[in-house]
Amino acid sequence: MQRLRALYAWFDQRLGLGSFFAETAGHLVPESSGSWFYVFGSATLLCFVIQVLTGICLSLVYVPSAAEAYTSLEYLNYEVPLGWYLRAVHYWGSNFMVALLSVHMAQVFLFGAYKYPRELTWISGCLLFLLTLGMAFTGQILRWDQDAYWGVGIGMSIAGRTPFLGEPLVHAVLGGPIIGAATLSRFFALHVFVLVGLIIAVITLHLRLVLRSGISEYPDPDQPVDRATYHARYEDLIRRTGVPFFPNAIAKDLVFGALVILAILGAAAVFGPNGPNGPPDPTLIHTSPRPDFYFLPLFAVFALLPPYTETVLMLVGPVIGIALLFAVPFLDRSGQRNPLRRPVACLAVILVFLVLGSLAYLGETSPWSPEMDAWNGLPLPESAVAGRSPLQLVGAAVFQNKQCRNCHALGGTGGARGPSLDDVAARLSGDQLIRQVLRGGGNMPAYAKQLTPPEVTALVAWMETLHPAYEPPTHEKTWRRKKP
């Protein structure tokens, strides 16, 4: 023991370990900041550490080459003992990291912690947010599957629209004009070296700023921030109620951190890794690629934008959004920090999460995409077949064969791009149905050239039987009107 002490003293003298600890972990923080609301930042950092550790382990097996990456992922999933679990922890760690980071940002925003004197802390945090999304995007591409392939394709198509810079940018990222052998290596370098290095650097800055300005006190509605008096008041607060960060304030962080670790390990064990979702082969058109959840809102927005607004909104929109995010401390110059006195801030957070949530739901269900397997994979509901004549039955077969089902649901199954046809006969007469099928209209293509006259006749004969029991088909309604 004596020797250990001597050894420590030797190092302490040279490295200043004791004073470093006292200045960082031991520094005094306001007692009110030891709140459950203040645990999300450290939890995000914890996720990052987990990502680094699992990432290093993954890199021992993963082969960053376009030809072998997919195989090495399958090797991890099926051959390496617990390799699948490693992938799952890395995947769920990333999900938790993005989610906790968003919650941390929302909390900081709601508590007005970005206000004087912590503007730079907010800005460095926004940088970390962007870098984390960069990690998420590049990581998703290292999972070299169909989602990754089309993800790069879409990302680069967007980047390629940038005026002047588009083409060189795409060349630089892809290592050529198209996705090729160099592409994956570039994303590997970004994911493993460049972005991680940047994140570590900015985290250091972020923590340095937190130490320098002190952890913000729990917002008191009656004591708004006043630039002239804030420092004196904060120092007074520390003097009166200050407690060392370690072990007092960190206790809740540790408890929450343990819960986060359990949640990540649990989610990884129960839900497993993501994919790899099919080999990244552009000749396999039978695929419906989808980004991971953090990019689903963007995916939905891009799908829903009217074509003529695309270039402007996709290139200018994010710039404005990010600029607004960075500018938050300068746009809101009031001193009030308590969320209960800042209705606009609360509403803004609710609105942002509602919009992102709705868009993510739309992105996941993507009702604008036809369901390409419906026509041959989904049996028709028996109610749409029972009691039909031979002509109507063959019309139902035409309906399936011409892939109408891919866009039009029946009995709750099928695509959602067009309206469901369960009650189509109650809405349209036979003539209207023929017209709609032949000429299309209202987002539906014209099928006149795809259908022979007998096919149209059979199809419409069958569609005229599609009406709910409580509502007669249109031709009966008109007949009744004519002959009361």
Partner: protein, 248 residues
């Protein structure tokens, strides 16, 4: 029991438990290229049941789980129909050679699985099955189908449900509509006459109540009669002939 023992046993328990954790990817979840799927049942689900439905359930077209039909068509012919489709009808070409989605091996696996699951060859060992096609019937010594003789067979066997000349009883079962006939091949009509559509209540060639089974010749004749109802311009109510007949 030292702490080392405890740690080692905990690690072992986790390692063993990890083998059966619900998140562990199974081989079944492993993504296979669509052209390498050789599981016949999966291929049936993804390529056939949209129109043919699940066995025993109502569907627009023939139930592929019907053992009579499977016994009559035989596996080789079924493979050919899946490969080449039936021109003019909703049955598409499935072979990749013809632009379809399935390879030869996949079509073989699909047909194998249909026969392995639903065919009952033993039940037909002592049954003389009618020849599947008109050509087979000719080889078996039958004369070419004759529509006049066919009309007589029709009146005897079919008119009760489908009407004296195919115009149907109450319209539900009419077969004389040009569009129905245009979208059904002669072989399709013949298969229905032979194997029936049990899920729709249409009897097979040997199940007509109170009547002897249809002979090989009768089958050819009645199909010839149905084929004679085909119209030159089906599905066009504007052509005067069809308008007069009132049956597009």
């Amino acid at each position: 029991m030292t702490s080392l023992h405890v740690i080692v046993s905990i690690v072992l328990v986790i390692a063993v438990a990890a083998c059966d954790l619900p998140g562990r990817p199974t081989q079944a979840e492993r993504r296979v290229r669509p052209d390498r799927v050789l599981d016949g049942a999966a291929l049936f689900e993804s390529h056939c049941r949209g129109c043919h439905g699940e066995p025993g359930r109502l569907a627009p077209v023939r139930d592929l789980g019907d053992p009579v039909f499977l016994a009559v068509i035989g596996e080789g012919e079924l493979r050919r129909v899946v490969s080449d489709g039936v021109a003019g009808t909703p049955m598409p070409v499935f072979s990749s050679a013809g632009g379809g989605p399935l390879t030869e091996a996949q079509i073989a696996a699909l047909a194998d699985s249909i026969f392995a699951r639903w065919a009952t060859p033993k039940a037909f060992e002592s049954v003389t099955l009618p020849p599947y096609s008109e050509a087979d019937a000719r080889r078996a010594g039958a004369q070419p189908g004759d529509s006049e003789r066919g009309l007589a067979v029709w009146k005897d066997y079919c008119a009760e449900c489908h009407g004296p000349t195919g115009e149907g009883g109450g319209g539900a079962l009419r077969l004389d509509q040009g569009s129905f006939l245009a979208l059904t091949s002669d072989q399709g009509l013949r298969s229905i006459v032979i194997a029936g559509r049990p899920e729709l209540g249409m009897p097979s060639w040997r199940e007509h109540e109170g009547k002897p089974p249809l002979t090989v010749q009768q089958i050819s004749d009645v199909v010839a009669w149905l084929a004679s109802l085909r119209r030159p311009f089906p599905g066009r109510p504007h052509s005067s002939g069809d308008l007069a007949a009132g049956a597009p």
